[in-house]
Symmetry: C2
């Protein structure tokens, strides 16, 4: 199927928007009228630009408040339509989107509305053009797609069909399954947009918070399946009004949009019994945990990290054959300290940053093919003679993902000369999770990219208060492989609260870890006494347990699934810290209720 994007979904001048859409591989665009009116190029010149870029102009939109009006207004509206038809002819745009009348003076008369739509379609047909009629969720009398379809049916003109917009349909909780009742050839156009999972006045929501499929809360797979099952074969087109996209780099947004359509298309393909022309993505493989996490360091942070890791019971076990990279191990937790990788991730502004995540991947070549289809750029990386050739891709937040099979003989570990063997003194066993911090504007894009690459479970959004602003947090997980992404809710640039990353290690006993840390002189984050007073007031923990937690500054959380303990060495740098966690029973969260306390203490002057 062809893929389109509305010009309103991208930032910049019309020429910039067209270039970005073409570069990301879109086949066509919906041309938003304001973009045309604000453009110094005449319609014929715009057509030439689109032609040169290999783009079609699939839809001219929107044409508003046409139908169900007085005879006098109808004449004015027809005059307006004729002028738009002339523009469309010059543009080479075959179809015009007519939205249901949203004015107060619209007449509540289906027969009249249908008569007017017939007239509009008849006029359009004389120019070889078509009309796609769409029910706006806030249309005065026509506000759902079944009503719109009924009018199209009554109007009965070959050049008149309906346009289905997932936003208008799903935001009203209308049942999308009845789309299957509409003959596919009468579905003239399909506009796709997702939206976040909170309710809001529909018009405001529509104009500001739409997002690309997979980045919000709508079930667009089922929706699109209904439309294709009805027989629609026109383009899948993204019409997304979003405050961030309006000011983001258009080239980047277009790639983000295309990735979203590829993922959606693959999901729909798997559910559709009928033959469609949707391309197939290579299947994902389930990650088997973390092979390693790499921290880029400079001379200063390298020294601090070495000292801290040694005290935490890690052993410096390996030295990279060709690069200034150290391997540190404890249990199966592996960390690389890389002194030769520039600090270039999205958010990097400190002296240390998580630059690479090694994924234990049972089928790395298939994962690599999938990542490539998902438009992930290959990570630039110097590989020495005889060194392991790992598939490696740069994710939207700037972190590189390496697909590893550590158990194989010729694996990435062979690139390291053995320095000593691991001891595992503090009982840390593996990496439990890694928390990254994309730029606020790249949050949804980043999550979708990671989630789709490995078919991870997308957890609900959590928000918690940092002393200097609210943070939004969302995890993508699978068994033994957890990633957390944190961003400021307001994309401010306050360095006090942006860009903090961490690596959490599992342990078999939090108290053993705490005692070893104390014996080794690991500086621990102080936790307020007030926290433990509150903990004792709201939990059933015994005074003795509270006292032990208090002694080491261990944080505690409990859900119906199990218990959770958290211990924090003081931060490695302003941007990175380590965490040690112990999970009891089925606890599968990350201690979100404790985050405000932890953040307050991490940001308090020591």
């Amino acid at each position: 199927m062809r893929r389109s994007i509305a010009t309103v979904s991208l930032s910049g001048s019309l020429v910039e928007k067209l270039s970005a859409a073409a570069a990301a591989g879109f086949d066509g665009v919906e041309l938003f009228e304001t973009d045309l009116i604000s453009c110094p190029l005449r319609p014929a010149e715009i057509k030439r630009q689109a032609d040169d870029l290999g783009l079609t102009i699939d839809l001219y939109q929107p044409f508003r408040d046409f139908e169900a009006v007085s005879a006098e207004l109808l004449q004015r509206n027809l005059k307006r339509a004729e002028q738009k038809f002339a523009v469309m002819a010059a543009l080479g745009a075959p179809m015009m989107l007519a939205c249901s009348n949203a004015r107060a003076e619209a007449i509540d008369d289906d027969a009249l509305a249908a008569e007017h739509l017939h007239l509009l379609a008849e006029r359009a047909s004389r120019h070889g053009l078509s009309i796609a009629y769409e029910a706006l969720a806030w249309g005065t009398h026509v506000d759902d797609y079944l009503h719109a379809w009924n009018l199209v049916r009554i109007a009965d003109h070959p050049n008149l069909g309906i346009c289905l917009d997932s936003f208008h349909i799903l935001t009203k909780n209308t049942d999308p399954a009845r789309i299957r009742e509409i003959p596919g050839e009468k579905i003239f156009f399909l506009q796709l947009a997702d939206a976040p999972g909170f309710a809001i006045d529909t018009l405001h929501f529509s104009r500001h918070y739409r997002c690309f499929p997979g980045q919000g809360g709508f079930d667009l797979t089922a929706f699109t399946e209904h439309v294709l099952a009805a027989g629609y074969r026109g383009p899948l087109s993204l019409e997304v009004f979003n405050d961030v996209f309006r000011q983001a780099d258009a080239d980047r947004t277009a790639v983000d949009a295309m990735r979203s359509l590829i993922i959606l298309g693959d999901a729909v393909r798997q559910r559709l019994p009928v033959q469609t022309s949707l391309p197939e993505l290579p299947a994902f493989s389930q990650p088997q945990g973390f092979a390693f996490a790499e921290i880029s360091v400079d001379a200063h942070s390298e020294k601090i990290a070495q000292d801290l890791l040694a005290r935490m019971g890690f052993t410096h076990t390996g030295k990279h054959k060709s690069k200034r990279v150290q391997l540190w191990e404890q249990g199966s937790a592996r960390l690389l300290l890389n002194h030769s990788h520039p600090l270039t991730t999205d958010w990097a502004r400190g002296d240390a940053a998580i630059s690479v995540i090694g994924v234990e991947d049972p089928n790395s070549s298939r994962s690599a093919a999938r990542a490539r289809e998902l438009l992930a750029p290959q990570a630039p990386r110097a590989v020495g003679v005889d060194e392991a050739l790992l598939p490696a891709f740069t994710m939207p937040d700037g972190t590189d993902l390496f697909f590893c099979r550590t158990c194989e003989p010729q694996n990435w570990l062979a690139d390291f000369d053995i320095v000593s063997s691991a001891a595992g003194q503090a009982g840390l066993t593996s990496i439990d999770h890694v928390a990254l911090s994309p730029a606020a504007d790249h949050f949804d894009e980043t999550l979708l990219a990671y989630q789709a690459t490995f078919g991870l479970e997308l957890r609900p959004i959590e928000e918690f208060a940092d002393p200097y602003g609210l943070l939004r947090s969302r995890a993508v997980t699978s068994e033994g492989f957890n990633l957390i992404f944190n961003v400021p809710v307001i994309g401010g640039a306050d360095p006090k609260q942006s860009g903090v990353q961490h690596i959490a290690f599992s342990c078999s006993s939090i108290f053993q870890a705490a005692e070893t840390f104390r014996a080794n002189g690991v500086p621990l984050l102080p936790i307020p006494q007030n926290y433990y007073d509150d903990l004792s007031s709201r939990t059933g923990l015994t005074p003795a347990t509270i006292a032990r937690l208090r002694e080491y500054g261990i944080l505690y959380d409990k859900t119906s699934a199990g218990e959770f303990y958290q211990l924090y060495p003081t931060s490695l740098s302003r941007n990175i810290f380590f965490e040690v966690v112990q999970r009891i029973d089925g606890y599968d969260g990350f201690g979100a209720p404790n985050a405000p306390v932890r953040r307050a203490m991490q940001s308090s002057p020591s």
Copy 2:
């Protein structure tokens, strides 16, 4: 009346929050529990800090999900309460806020709820403490204040009263007038928050979008009047959860909050028949238009401005006696080009900025007293011997306001040596409006400050698309004195779309102005031909009129009140441009529908 603010409304550590509240003149605070738990100071130390700052801790909050529970849970909740009472005793906090139970397992039984509240109040009374019970808008069974009051009435304990929160009451459209039925002595606490005028899921709305009174859409004057009429004499307290405030400078937010309470208090005082202890603000005076607008320039932009103004028909009429400031006049439009004022406003990042607005003020000394009461800092300004001493204040966006009486003999004009007399060649008559650009996070604060200083009318928010992002625009106006404030909807730092200011001049004939400009070689902003095609399709303008508009690049708007013409010389600098407007009949807008076209052309590479 005493004034308080919830610590959750301010950013930073608890100590920073207390300092900011004290510095802004608050009498007390509501202590938010998370702020306590995250604070390394023990409760008694926090009390000492507050004492030293002259602050009382008026309320400890929130205590959640206490009432209408099973017998077993009740015991656990009482244990929790006792521990909090101990904390409150150490804090010296006399009152605890108990929110209506919001858990699914809360029992729907008013008698039981009242019995539990009685028990809680009885326990509190043994410590000399009180309970203020508040209906959360999302409480499971108790979600409006009349229901909460009924429970308090049934529970009938002297240490139990209700807390009224404007947010929870007004967001549900509950009638606040029935507050008058509650005996004043049973209203234990009053929390004030405003909220913007769009609907949204209440919980989300509550946690993110509250704002200070006068910055949103609630009628808090009437609300507060009801509460005071009922006999409440406790503190007016601001409890505002807002994403921006969480990360803004706490000292600044506290001043913004205090200003809002001062304005609210004055408005309530004017409507209350009964004697209250609310302080009285000096009355505002109606501005009589603009005395002048001053642009700070550097050597480069000064030259460009001089050339542009001369071509636009302005005359260089005066030279300041002691500073490098030029006066330019046409009609009663007066501009100052100031080469000795640093470019220091909020947003200034270019080579020119609007730095001062001179207001024609019939009672400038009274206005000055009012501005001082509204916490406006006096503008630092060197005044030479014999020069006019104008009251001058710095507004939150960094612009200085000068209060002028140009008609008086010893007015500000006398500070200028006459260079030549004005000619008024292009028929420009006065300054119609000035558009400023505060930092996005200071938008509400800035609007309220300007609005309150001169009792201006606050127009609705408008939003329009800039090619590189959405802009939010709001005007404050009175007859002949219009200010517009523009900010990016997302407070991004993209210099392409932030910080643009302009000065618009009225004229008696837009075509005369355009012809004069052309004759004088004023470079005019090109307007796309597509704009005029669209204009002809949607208006009744004759082809001849369209052709004239097209010839000069004049933009057009029409409402039921009248017509509007706009003409744009090309920008003076990246941050400033001029506009010429003509208003026909009662048109009182600013041409918002044309803004996207204008912005697109201004930001297109020329």
